[in-house]
Structure formats: structure tokens, C-alpha cells
């Protein structure tokens, strides 16, 4: 009985800690020139502008430029973006057709 209670208490305490971390922890900012296949599946953040926007039926493909290089970014939700605005793009690096791309989960304007 004691072990059972102890285990579930520890679980809930650490679950709250993990939840708080998931809401507050900052994803590391990476320069495009430093992104390699080692970063595949890693969650990263890129600060940069949009060079090009290609709108398709269910997906928006953008070209992100951070002055060190360019990388395609994929967004699966309809979104309105501007070209001369600096954004922070957060998501996971994936490989498609032997090319690296950022599967974007969050975009914020950087002021």
C-alpha cells in the first residue's frame, strides 16, 4: 500500500514539473548553416524572414532565410504570412526527398 501511494505521489509531482517545463522551456535557436542530418527529429527554432511562399491545398511551403542559408518550411494549417517580416519558426527537422526541411509547429512575429 505504501509503495503504491508513494509511486503515484511521485508520478503526479513530477508530471506537474514536466508539464510546467513543456510550457516554459525555450527551444534552442539554430542557424540554418549549422543544420545537418544530425538534427533530424530535433525540435529547433530558426529566426529569419520568408523568401518565398507556395500555397497548396492542404499545405503551405515557405522558404526561410536567416542570412546564413535557406531551408524549406512546411506548415499544415492555413496561415497568412508576410515576406518582409522577421519570424521565429519552431518545429522539427525532417528529411523529404533527401532534403532537410523544417516541419513548422509554431510561428511568431519577432519585434
Amino acid at each position: 500500500m505504501q509503495t503504491k501511494l508513494f509511486a503515484i505521489t511521485i508520478f503526479f509531482v513530477f508530471l506537474i514539473v514536466l508539464f510546467t517545463l513543456s510550457q516554459t522551456i525555450e527551444t534552442k535557436i539554430v542557424k540554418i548553416e549549422d543544420i545537418t542530418t544530425r538534427n533530424i527529429d530535433e525540435r529547433i527554432k530558426i529566426i529569419g524572414n520568408i523568401d518565398d511562399i507556395l500555397q497548396k491545398a492542404n499545405v503551405t511551403i515557405i522558404t526561410i532565410n536567416d542570412s546564413t542559408g535557406v531551408i524549406p518550411g512546411i506548415i499544415y494549417e492555413p496561415i497568412s504570412l508576410g515576406k518582409n517580416i522577421q519570424y521565429s519558426f519552431e518545429g522539427k527537422i525532417k528529411e523529404y526527398n533527401q532534403e532537410l526541411e523544417l516541419e513548422i509547429e509554431e510561428i511568431k512575429e519577432v519585434y
Binding site: 503515484i8 508520478f11 508530471l15 514539473v17 534552442k28 525540435r43
Partner: protein, 396 residues
């Protein structure tokens, strides 16, 4: 080319033995490391050889994975269910029998894969086309069946939901390998801590060559074929769940269950690679990496890979039996709690190495839930809610 393939098979078998025997090291991790250096390797080796390496490693791992699961009580997510019947046999002096029956099942699974390959190739696209429209419903149904099969349904559901919440939170953290501490905690360290605490006495082990009757094997084959092919389509469902789902209409003793788990393990592993060709959907971590290395997967290559699976399976079967015999002879001579403690320490260090301090927090949380599941007598399969719940939410 032929020599290159032989070299790939040889190194793949060695790597699979290592990942299988060492608790906590998953083949996904080795395949991911291979993928990260694949640009360099592809200068010297063909993509086919690299995929052959991945396939032989996976098959070899599937066999050898049963040995620590049964002898060291440190299962991973793929063999979680074997801990109960396997551990029970170990405590009766039948650790070798448990391994041997699992290996027999693994080998039969490979034969079934080859024999039924044309049928799988014909059926897979048809079934998948239908299933993907009702994926969330099927996953909810499978989860409900697994919960309803438990004696204590309330705690089973409670553990399933809690592990689901843990999975959702962990996948939001900026980690490259979130599954490593999550699954190590839920299935590995929780069991090891329980072993250290309860200090089980391992009796003298007997090496007896038991076999299942043909009648019993015939009973197992149809349900294992159906559940394996279903689980090879469904994300989040592994061989452990497939084994439990197979027993809906079957009453099996612990020996038959281990044999069934063996059959399903290799069938699901093989079908994951078949799925790349037939539905263009890799269904496991290693299959994803194989499909990235070899982008054009032809029927000729599929047959080559099936031959490699068959050759590896037959070869590894004898190695695995020899290793299980050695384990069986030495297990009573070692300090069982001390070995469990050393394995626990290594798993903690690996977590720290791969996922830093956030991984340690996940490991503690997952371990606590794993211990809770053991204490309330819920099958550890419910802990797979950590993958099932996020996948269900994705498809809803």
C-alpha cells in the same frame, strides 16, 4: 556486391545481438546513428547494403531481446508481456524453456512471413485503404479490448489514461529522443527497482528441449497472422498488443503464449518492411530509416530482403539457443540483485547521455507510473497508452 551484402549481414547480426542482449538499447537508436552518418557511408556502400544491415540487425535483435526480458527482468516495450509468463517459467527453473519456445515462435513467424508474402502484398493496400478512414475508431476499440481483458478494469483504465497524459506532455518537450527515457522508465527501470526490492531467488535452471504440439501450433497460426497484419498497419500498436489481441478467442498457457509472442514479434517486424513496398508507409522507427536510405523500393529488393530475413532468422536461431543455454547455466551463480542494480545504473547513465537532465525527470516520472502499475496488478501493456493516446488524438 555479394561480399558487401555478406559483410552487412555479419555486422547486422552482431549489432542485433548487442542491442538485444543489452537492456535499454533499442535498434531504433542504432539505426538513427547509422542514418546520421549515412551520407558518409553511402560513398563506400550501396543503399541496399545499408538496408540489409538494418534488417539483419532488427531480426537478430528480435530473437536476442527475449533473453534479458526473461532472465534479467528488464523488458522493453516490444516484449513487455513476456515478462509475466517468461518470468514465471524462470522462477520454476524453466528460463531456457521460455527462451527456446520464444525462438521457435520467432522462426515460425519468419516462415509464415515468406509463405504468406504474396497474400500480404495483395491484401495490405486493400485493407489499409479501408482502415485509414477509421484509424482512430480501430485504435480506441483495440485499447478498450486491452483494458476490458484486465481483471481490475478501473486501475487498467486509470494507468492507460495516466500514461497517455505523460506521453502527450513528453512529446511537447524539446527532446530528440523522448521515447528513450519514457519507455525505459515505464518498462525497464520500474521492473528493475521492483526486482531489487523483492530480491527474487532464482532456482537452478533446467535445460529441457520442450516443443509445442502441432495441434497447439495450428491453433496459434491463424490468430497471429490476423493480429500481426493488423498491427503492422496501426501506429502505436506493437507485438505485445498484437499478442494480447490474438488471445481474444484463444485460451493459452504460458508456454503457448511465449511461442505466440515469438511468432508475432518476427511477423510484425517483417511486415513493417513489407509495408514500405506495399503501402509506402514504414511502420516502425527502423523501417522509417530504411525507407529514407533506399528511396526506390522495388519488388526485387523486397524479395532480396525477405531472403535476408530468412537466412538471418535461421542463423540467429542457433546462436540465440546457445546464448540462452549459457545464461541458464550462469544465472544462479550471479548475484541477481547486483546485476539488476548495475543494469539500472547503466540505463540512468544512458538516459543522461542521450536526453540530459530533462530525460532524467521523464525517467523518474515514468518509473513511478511503472511501479504503480506493478503494485496495483495491472499488465504493463496498459502503459503503452503513452503512445496510443497521442496517436488516437492525432487521428481524431
Amino acid at each position: 556486391m555479394f561480399l558487401e551484402l555478406l559483410l552487412a549481414i555479419f555486422i547486422g547480426i552482431i549489432a542485433g545481438i548487442f542491442t538485444g542482449l543489452f537492456p535499454g538499447i533499442h535498434i531504433n537508436l542504432v539505426a538513427l546513428l547509422l542514418f546520421s552518418i549515412s551520407t558518409f557511408l553511402l560513398k563506400y556502400f550501396s543503399p541496399v547494403s545499408l538496408v540489409v544491415f538494418i534488417i539483419t540487425m532488427t531480426i537478430s535483435h528480435t530473437f536476442f531481446d527475449f533473453i534479458p526480458s526473461i532472465f534479467l527482468s528488464a523488458p522493453n516495450e516490444e516484449t513487455t508481456l513476456s515478462i509475466l509468463p517468461g518470468h514465471r517459467l524462470l522462477l520454476k527453473g524453466g528460463g531456457y524453456t521460455a527462451c527456446k519456445l520464444s525462438f521457435d515462435g520467432c522462426l515460425l513467424g519468419i516462415f509464415l512471413l515468406i509463405i504468406f508474402l504474396p497474400l500480404f502484398l495483395w491484401l495490405m493496400p486493400l485493407i489499409y485503404g479501408f482502415l485509414k478512414t477509421i484509424m482512430a475508431f480501430i485504435l480506441i476499440l483495440a485499447s478498450a479490448i486491452l483494458v476490458l481483458k484486465e481483471k481490475n478494469k478501473f486501475f487498467a483504465f486509470f494507468v492507460f489514461i495516466l500514461s497517455g497524459i505523460l506521453g502527450i506532455i513528453v512529446f511537447q518537450l524539446p527532446l530528440k529522443e523522448p521515447l528513450f527515457p519514457l519507455l525505459t522508465g515505464l518498462f525497464g527501470t520500474s521492473m528493475l527497482l521492483t526486482t531489487i526490492k523483492t530480491k527474487p531467488v532464482i532456482p537452478k535452471q533446467e535445460v529441457s528441449e520442450e516443443k509445442l504440439s502441432n495441434k497447439e501450433i495450428a491453433k496459434i497460426i491463424p490468430s497471429s497472422l490476423i493480429s500481426s497484419s493488423l498491427c503492422s498497419f496501426l501506429p502505436g500498436l506493437g507485438s505485445s498488443q498484437a499478442a494480447v489481441l490474438s488471445t481474444i478467442n484463444l485460451k493459452l498457457n504460458e508456454k503457448s503464449f511465449l511461442f505466440l509472442l515469438g511468432v508475432i514479434s518476427t511477423l510484425v517486424t517483417g511486415l513493417n518492411f513489407v509495408a514500405i513496398y506495399s503501402i509506402s508507409k514504414p511502420r516502425s522507427g527502423v523501417a522509417v530509416i530504411a525507407s529514407k536510405i533506399l528511396t526506390n523500393f522495388s519488388l526485387n529488393e523486397l524479395w532480396l530482403f525477405m531472403f535476408v530475413i530468412l537466412a538471418t532468422g535461421i542463423l540467429v536461431y542457433f546462436f540465440a539457443i546457445k546464448t540462452a543455454k549459457n545464461f541458464s547455466e550462469k544465472i544462479t551463480k550471479i548475484n541477481y540483485s547486483r546485476v539488476s542494480f548495475v543494469v539500472l545504473l547503466v540505463l540512468i547513465l544512458l538516459t543522461l547521455f542521450f536526453t540530459s537532465w530533462i530525460g532524467i525527470l521523464i525517467l523518474i516520472t515514468a518509473t513511478a507510473l511503472g511501479i504503480f502499475a506493478i503494485e496495483v496488478g495491472v499488465k504493463k501493456i496498459q502503459l503503452m497508452g503513452c503512445l496510443m493516446v497521442p496517436v488516437i488524438l492525432y487521428f481524431l
